[in-house]
C-alpha cells in the first residue's frame, strides 16, 4: 500500500489494526502505530498520516476522528479538582487531560500535588492550605506516573495553579494576584496558588499584571 496523497480527504488511506504501513527503513511509528521486526504496523482503525521526522524517515501515525482512549502521560497538562489536603500534599481527581474530558467519575484518575511541587521557589516553606483547598479546580502538569494510587502533578509553572475556587461564603472568587483570590460579595481575600492566565489571550477584562 503506497503512501496517501496529501490533498483530497477522499483519498486518505484508512487502515485497521495489523495493516502494514511500511518498513522501519523509511518510517518511524507514531501515535496509533507500532514497530515489529523491521516493519511499522497500524494499531488503530483510522486515517494514515505522515509527517517528516528528524532523521530523514517519516513519522507515520493513525488518527481516529472520534473520542480516543485518553490517559495522562508525563508532560500532559491536566485539569483536576482538589479532593483533600494535608500539610504535605493535595489529593486531586484528574478530570481532563490535554483538553479532553474524562467522562465518568470512575474514570477520574487520582493525582497528587506534593508540597515541593506547588511552586518553583522556596519549596521548603510551602503551606499547602495557602495554595489549595478542597473543591478548587486546578491546572497542573503530570511529572510522573507516580505509584499505584496516584499520578504525581506539579503546579510550579506560572500558568499552572488554581483556576476556579469558591470562597468560604460559597461564591466564585476573583484572582487578584498570583497568591490571592477575593470573594466578590464579602470582599474577603483568600490565599491560593493562582494560575497566571495570559491577559492577551483571555477575553475577560481582568486586572493589570
Amino acid at each position: 500500500s503506497s503512501s496517501a496523497s496529501s490533498s483530497s480527504s477522499a483519498e486518505r488511506q484508512v487502515v485497521a489494526p495489523g495493516d502494514r504501513l511500511g518498513a522501519t527503513t523509511a518510517l518511524v511509528a507514531g501515535i496509533g502505530a507500532y514497530e515489529l521486526e523491521g516493519g511499522v504496523y497500524a494499531a488503530l482503525l483510522g486515517v494514515r498520516e505522515e509527517v517528516d521526522g528528524d532523521d530523514g524517515r517519516k513519522i507515520v501515525s493513525v488518527r481516529r476522528k472520534q473520542k480516543v482512549v485518553v490517559l495522562p502521560k508525563i508532560g500532559d497538562q491536566v485539569m483536576c479538582q482538589v479532593t483533600r489536603i494535608n500539610s504535605r500534599m493535595a489529593h486531586v481527581a484528574i478530570i481532563s487531560v490535554q483538553g479532553q474530558l474524562l467522562g465518568r467519575e470512575e474514570e477520574h484518575f487520582p493525582g497528587l500535588i506534593r508540597a515541593r511541587d506547588v511552586r518553583a521557589f522556596d519549596i521548603d516553606d510551602v503551606k499547602v492550605q495557602h495554595a489549595f483547598r478542597p473543591g478548587d479546580i486546578v491546572m497542573a502538569e503530570v511529572i510522573s506516573l507516580g505509584d499505584a494510587r496516584s499520578y504525581y502533578l506539579s503546579t510550579a509553572k506560572n500558568e499552572l495553579g488554581v483556576i476556579l475556587a469558591r470562597s468560604a461564603a460559597g461564591h466564585t472568587m476573583v484572582p487578584i494576584s498570583w497568591q490571592q483570590m477575593q470573594c466578590p460579595v464579602t470582599k474577603v481575600k483568600e490565599l491560593r496558588k493562582v494560575a497566571k492566565i495570559d491577559v492577551k489571550s483571555s477575553s475577560s477584562s481582568s486586572s493589570k499584571q
Binding site: 495493516d19 494499531a43 488503530l44 484518575f109
Partner: protein, 230 residues
C-alpha cells in the same frame, strides 16, 4: 467436492455478520452473528487500576449468557456438559486476546470487556473472540492485529471447518483456534479428542485459512464503520 448437509464444502466456514457501535454508552462495542449464535460485546474504560502499580494495562473479561440463551432453559444442573462454562470461556478470551492488545500503552489502567451471549450455539467461543476483538478496535484500544477464530473437527476421518451442532456431535476430534492474520500468529489453541499429528497439522492449516476469510469480513465491517462515522 463433497457437500455437507447445508451445502457447504468441507473447508468452507460461514461468514459471520459483524457490526459495531451497538452499545451507545460503552467505549466500544460489537454485535456478531454466526448461524443462530448471537453475541453482543461491550468494552468500558480506562479505569484507574488502584490495586498495584503496573506499567501495563489490564483487561478484565466477563462472559455471560442471557437467561434465554440456551435451548434448554433449565437450571444449571440440567445442562449437558458440552455447554461451555462461563468462567472457562472468560479465561480463554483472556489468553487469546491478551496477545493482540498493546497493553504497554495503557499504564495503571484497566478495561472491562463484557461478552453477552444472546443465543448460544456451536462456534460460540470463536465468535466471542472475534466480537471482543472488534469491540476493542471500535473502542480505540491499540491492538497489534485483529483476531479471528474458528473450530475445525474431524468426522469419520474427514476434517471439516465451522461444524454445525450435528457435525460436532459426530466428531472424534475438535480444534478451536484463534489466529491473527496479518501477524500470521496463532494466539490460542484448544483441542479435544483423538488425532494423529498429521491430522492436527492439517486442522491447524485449515483453521488458519478459514480465519483468514473471517478477517476479511472483519476488515469489511471496520471499513463500513469508519465510513459511517464520516
Amino acid at each position: 467436492m463433497r457437500r455437507r448437509e447445508d451445502g457447504r464444502g468441507l473447508e468452507e466456514c460461514r461468514k459471520p455478520l459483524i457490526c459495531t457501535k451497538v452499545v451507545a454508552q460503552a467505549l466500544g462495542s460489537s454485535y456478531v452473528e454466526l448461524g443462530t449464535t448471537k453475541i453482543v460485546c461491550s468494552v468500558y474504560g480506562p479505569k484507574p487500576n488502584l490495586d498495584e502499580f503496573k506499567q501495563e494495562g489490564e483487561i478484565v473479561y466477563n462472559y455471560r449468557r442471557a437467561p434465554f440463551a440456551l435451548a434448554n432453559r433449565g437450571k444449571t444442573g440440567d445442562q449437558d456438559n458440552t455447554v461451555l462454562d462461563e468462567k472457562l470461556a472468560a479465561e480463554a478470551l483472556d489468553q487469546a486476546l491478551s496477545l493482540s492488545v498493546a497493553i504497554g500503552k495503557f499504564p495503571k489502567s484497566s478495561f472491562t470487556v463484557n461478552v453477552l451471549v444472546l443465543e448460544s450455539g456451536p462456534g460460540e467461543l470463536p465468535l466471542a473472540i472475534m466480537a471482543a476483538s472488534v469491540a476493542c478496535c471500535d473502542g480505540g484500544i491499540e491492538l497489534y492485529d485483529m483476531m479471528s477464530a474458528c473450530t475445525v473437527c474431524s468426522v469419520l476421518g474427514e476434517l471439516i471447518v465451522d461444524p454445525t451442532a450435528e457435525e460436532l456431535q459426530l466428531s472424534t476430534f475438535q480444534l478451536m483456534l484463534a489466529y491473527m492474520t496479518n501477524r500470521k500468529e496463532v494466539a490460542y489453541l484448544q483441542s479435544t479428542g483423538e488425532s494423529t499429528t498429521t491430522e492436527l497439522k492439517q486442522a491447524i492449516q485449515l483453521g488458519t485459512h478459514a480465519c483468514g476469510k473471517c478477517t476479511e469480513v472483519i476488515e469489511e465491517c471496520l471499513t463500513k464503520s469508519w465510513q459511517a462515522e464520516q
